[in-house]
Structures are given as C-alpha cells and as structure tokens.
Symmetry: D2
Subunit: 204 residues, 4 copies
C-alpha cells in the first residue's frame, strides 16, 4: 500500500470521515506547501506531550506558566465561585458554557456518558468526581449535572447521583440538573410529549 | 385553461404544494374511482357548513349533539379545571397538548402569532381573549401562554400580556409562560446561548 | 369522525401527503372564502367528466372544440411528423418533452412501467400500442421508447420491444431508445459504472 | 494559542471541514495511542517525498520499483492501448474509470478545470498536454476529453480543444467528448432540457 492509501486509511478513522473524504484530504495535502505539512505533522506529534489533563477537573489544557502546572487555568482561578461545581460530559460542552459567560464556578469533565444497556462505567470518571466533591465538601453547596437530554445523559445522571449519594446525604450539597422545557425554535405543534410535559411543569 | 390546469392551480395554493406536486395530485385523482372524487368534493363543499368555531375558545369543532351548540366539547365540559386557561396559537397546538393528557383546563386559540415587525394584531384574537378572561375572572387563577419559542411567539407573549394587564393588575390572575431549557435530544455541545442560559437558570 | 378528520383522511391518500400535512390542508381550507372551496369542489367533481383519454395516444385531454373529439390536439395535428412515434410512461413525461420543443412527432402514453418482478402488464397499454403502430405501419419509420433510466424502465423497454417485434420484423420500423451518458451536473469522480460505460461507449 | 487550537486551525483548512469538526478531530487524537499519532504524523511528513508526479500523465504515484521511476505504472505499461489518450480533471476521476475496467488506454491529468469567468489557465496543464500529444502523434488516433458535465467542464473542453487544434488539424487525431444523455436513475418527468435534448439527439 502506498503512502497515499496509508494516510487515507488513517484519516478515515477520524470521526465522520469516510474513505472518499479521507482520500480528498490526502490530495489536498499533496498540493500544500512543505511548511504546512511540516507544521501539521509536528503538532500531531507533540499533541499529547503539550497537552495535560487537569488533575482537578480532567479538562485538557496546555501549561503556559511553565511551572509544570497540574491544574488548568480555571481550577487555579481563586476568583471563581467555590460553592458550585458543574459536571459535564466532555471539554466541548464546557467550552460552550464558558463561551457564553453564564457560569462562574468550576467544572468536572466526566469523560463520557454511561451507555444505557451497560453498567460499565470504566471510562466515566465518577470515582474521581466523588473524590473531588469529598475534597470540597466544606465550600460546595451545589453540584450541577449539566448533561445532554437523551437516554445516555439521563442514565449518567442516575449513575452519578447514586455515586455521590454518600456525600450528598451527609453534607448540605444539592445535586441539580438543568431545566427542561422549550428550547430555541421549539414549535408547540411538533413537540414530543416529554418536552410538553416538562415545559408545562416548569412554567413560571 | 382546461380543468386539469385549473384544478392544479387551486391545489398549488395548498401549504407546501408547488405546481409540480399539484399536477401530480390531479393525475392521481384522474385514476381514482368516481366514489372517491364525489366524497372528496362533498367534504370540501360542506367543510365550512359542518365546522363551527367555538364561541368560547375559537377552536374548530363539529356539533355532534345537533343542538346548534355554540361551544365545543371541551368548553362544555364542566369537569375541566376552571382555574386555568391555556392560550395557544392554533388548533394543531391544542391537539398536540390534548393528545398527551397533560392538561385539564380549557383553551383559547389566538388564531396566529403577531409578526415581529408589526403591531397589526387584527387577525390575532387578543380582544376576544380579554373578554373571555374578564368573563371568567372569578374562577381563573392562571392564564398560561403556551406559544412556540421563536421571535413571533415572544412578540405575541409580550402583546397578549400587555392586552391582559388591566385584568391581571386588578384580579389575582397570574400570566405564566412555558418553561424553557433543554428539550428532547438537546446536546450541550451544540446548544445556543439562550437555551443554555434558560437551562441553567431553571435548574432544579 | 367529523368532517375535518374525514377530509384529512382523504387528503392523506394524495401522493406524498401524510396525516400531518393532510390536516394542515384542511385548516388552510377552513380559512379560505366560500368561493374558493366551491370552485375546488366543483373542479374535483367534474374532473373525470371534462377530461377524456385520447383514443390514439391515451393522453388526458379536454375537448375544447365541443365536437366530442376523440383525439387530442397533438394527435389531430396533421403538421406533426408522421414518421416517428415517441412512447412515454405518463402524461408528465410527455409534457416535459413538449415544453422543450425538441420533438415534432406524436406520442403514445403507456400508462405506467412494468415492475421488475412481474410480467403483469395489465395496466401498461402495450397491446393498444401494437394496434396504433400497426395502423401507422405505412408512414412510421421509428418508434422511440423514451423511458426513464431505471430497472422498471429497462424492463418495460424489453417488454415493449418484444411486443412490437412482429411488426418491426415485418416492416421497416426502427425501435430506438434514448441516448445514455453524462447528464447535467454529472461529475466523473462520483459517476457509477453504468453511466461511465455508456458515456465512454457513446462518445463522439 | 495552545496546540489544541493550532492543530484545530490546521485541520479546518481540510476540504469540507469547519472549526467544530476540526476541534472534534483534535479531541479524537488526544484519546488515541501514541503509535497512531506517530504513524499519522510520519505519513503526513513524508507524503510529498514518497509521492511523485508522473512526468507523462501527471498522476500522483509512488515509485515501488526503487529505480527513481519518472513514470507511473500505467504510463510504463506497454500492453496499454497507445492509440487513445483520456484527459481527466484529477486523479480521483482517473481512479473511478480504472476501477471499472472500461478503458485500456493511457491518461493525462489536467490538474483542474478552467473557471468560466477566467482565461487564467495557469494551473491547468494544457501546455504539457500539448507536448504529450505532440510526442505521441504517430500512434495517437483519439484524445478523449473525459470531463464532468458542468459549465467549468464545458469551458475546459473548449479551451483544451483550442489548445490542441494545431496538432489535431495537422494529424489524424480525433478529439472526442463523452456521450451525453440519460444517466442512471434519470427520470423523464424531471429531466432538464439539455439532458432531454442530448438524450433525444443521441438515441439509437
């Protein structure tokens, strides 16, 4: 197999990329200047060296302070609200929240959702979340489970709530979930029953 | 113009139907038996005779009691909750709510939404709504504005709230709107800022 | 069942129309003036009375000469090229060809295509086509089978060619099919093998 | 800017990839093992070293014979039909033709199409095509312009035909274009006028 085909095969592993588009990536690169290919190649190679996982929130971050920081910028920010912790599924969720400047607490990245037919939570960091909440039991008043509204999200909420129960039973820490109802563009005529139930229940 | 073209022109006025599909309807009818065409023709002709508009909620209904009923079945149902009134844009919205058995009060069909660049509310029945609320001021505790979450819906909420103000200022009648937040399938990563703000604000 | 639901049920039989859009048609009609409903109803009722099937080409047409014409305008047009006959599946195909003024002969509407798993040609007028070709055997030089390029079209071409064989063997009448190759917008990179084979074979 | 953002920015240059999907690629790579990243990085780096451009047809190829081959496998294949040359826009077109085993001559990759509002053919290798045709004037009988059927393709055909005119006027070399007509799945009812004209003109 020649390099075009080998590289196309690797590109086809990228999320959402099939063999045709992977090939198109390779032909595109063949027309780019050497500097671009060198830069792309280098960044891929040093990606995992440059990027750490924060020991508090498990977000991916790059240590710019050069002091071998083990915590990301948000977790080191003492001006953040210590009374609340927002749990999300992945970095992209946290970035979307941060982008909108609507929350001033800290985060915890679960790393994934729990599939509905499974109790295998091995790649969901609920144990580490337990540790973080335990560490912060004196300041924390609320843990917000900010998960997507779908079966895996609901299953994960159930699992995480249960995992935290020993702490939330013992200490005055509330576990909350995001409000449900109409989202932008929702039309009454086409809404499913859960959306209508929630919208009606949560009216104000 | 022959009858094929005349009928196609009429069909092309139906919502979402262009000239091609309108023609296809005509060719379809040309292959149906006479009984079908007769039945279709009759139902169209007697549609507005058979169907009344309820004088209370303005829903379209068919008087099956043969007593020249001026009110629809829901409005005549004394077992319904009289303390709450749900205002919707059109019959299809009300049907979707009814289908889900999540509300036991009565309705009011506004007839449409108020376009955002307009104060022309001539085809939105806010005056008649005022009358109905005034009539029911003794039992009514809440008027729920169950409108779609889009600019026209928001504009209509503003307009209707303002129209009802003389009554809601004077009497203990609350005007509420449907809860906002995550709807079925909403993913955190892709949510727009309004949805995130609402979901966070309305958490529990 | 009330008239709204009865009419929606009838509308849902129209090609491409589901229960939701059918309901939307009814609510649309409820807001139209009586004149529109009356006109629509009448045209549906008299559709099959006004529209005849041409005894030569089986096209739907309306007799405007009021002489109980049995032939449509095209079939009565003596200026048309009598040496060629174009066979199509349905009226809409013929209309698309006529619209483009690229053909000056007469037509024959088969009424449908022959499904591939079936030899049931009962609703495909191949027998009547045989009669027409036989009638015109002295002037006709070519019968063009202008059918869509899909399995049913190919199956119908095979069936019709076989049906006409007794005549085309005996008389100098050629049976031709439309040219195949690249159609508007076809991209070489994505073309399927049949298109490529045909395009290459039919190059000039 | 950290490495995640730098790499996402580079990925967003890939055809069809926006900032969101580019970010998703990076997060995907952060979860892959080091071996995968190393392999991907290496193949990108050595892509242009491993891949040559054939001096005859300008296809991208990898020299497996280790003899610093300047011609690709197809151009070195003496069993190929020397009397015909197929001109295509890019490698992907040639691969699609080869995949179908319908052509046994050699190729020439133009490198692109000529935009319609431009006479800037600087990146279309028409001059080099002229040289190749001139070199092969003794064996060549036909040059097939196998270009996509769209305005840029048609413009390129015009330009290339004009470029080759000095040779095709002097020598018995025919310039042909792919056959046009119905392509797979084309329905008569919806065909545009060019497709119908071509299909009718090229019937057989």
């Amino acid at each position: 197999m020649n390099t075009i085909d080998k590289l196309a095969e690797q590109f086809s592993k990228l999320p959402g990329i099939g063999p045709r588009q992977a090939k198109r990536f390779v032909y595109f690169l063949l027309k780019k200047d050497d500097a671009f290919l060198k830069g792309l190649s280098e960044n891929i190679l040093k990606l995992k060296q440059d990027i750490n996982t924060c020991e508090s929130c498990y977000q991916f971050f790059q240590d710019k302070t050069k002091t071998s920081a083990k915590k990301c910028e948000i977790c080191r920010d003492s001006t953040r609200d210590e009374t609340v912790l927002m749990v999300v599924g992945k970095d992209a969720d946290m970035e979307n929240i941060e982008k909108n400047h609507i929350y001033n607490g800290k985060y915890f990245i679960l790393g994934g959702y729990l599939p509905i037919m499974s109790n295998d939570a091995s790649w969901v960091r609920s144990d580490k979340l337990f540790e973080i909440v335990k560490q912060r039991k004196d300041e924390l008043k609320e843990v917000i489970l900010a998960l997507s509204l779908n079966p895996e999200g609901e299953n994960t909420i159930y699992h995480v709530t249960r995992t935290l129960k020993p702490l939330t039973d013992k200490y005055p820490i509330k576990v909350s979930t995001l409000g449900k109802g109409l989202s932008t563009g929702t039309e009454l005529e086409y809404s499913d029953d859960d959306t209508l139930k929630n919208a009606l229940k949560n009216r104000s």
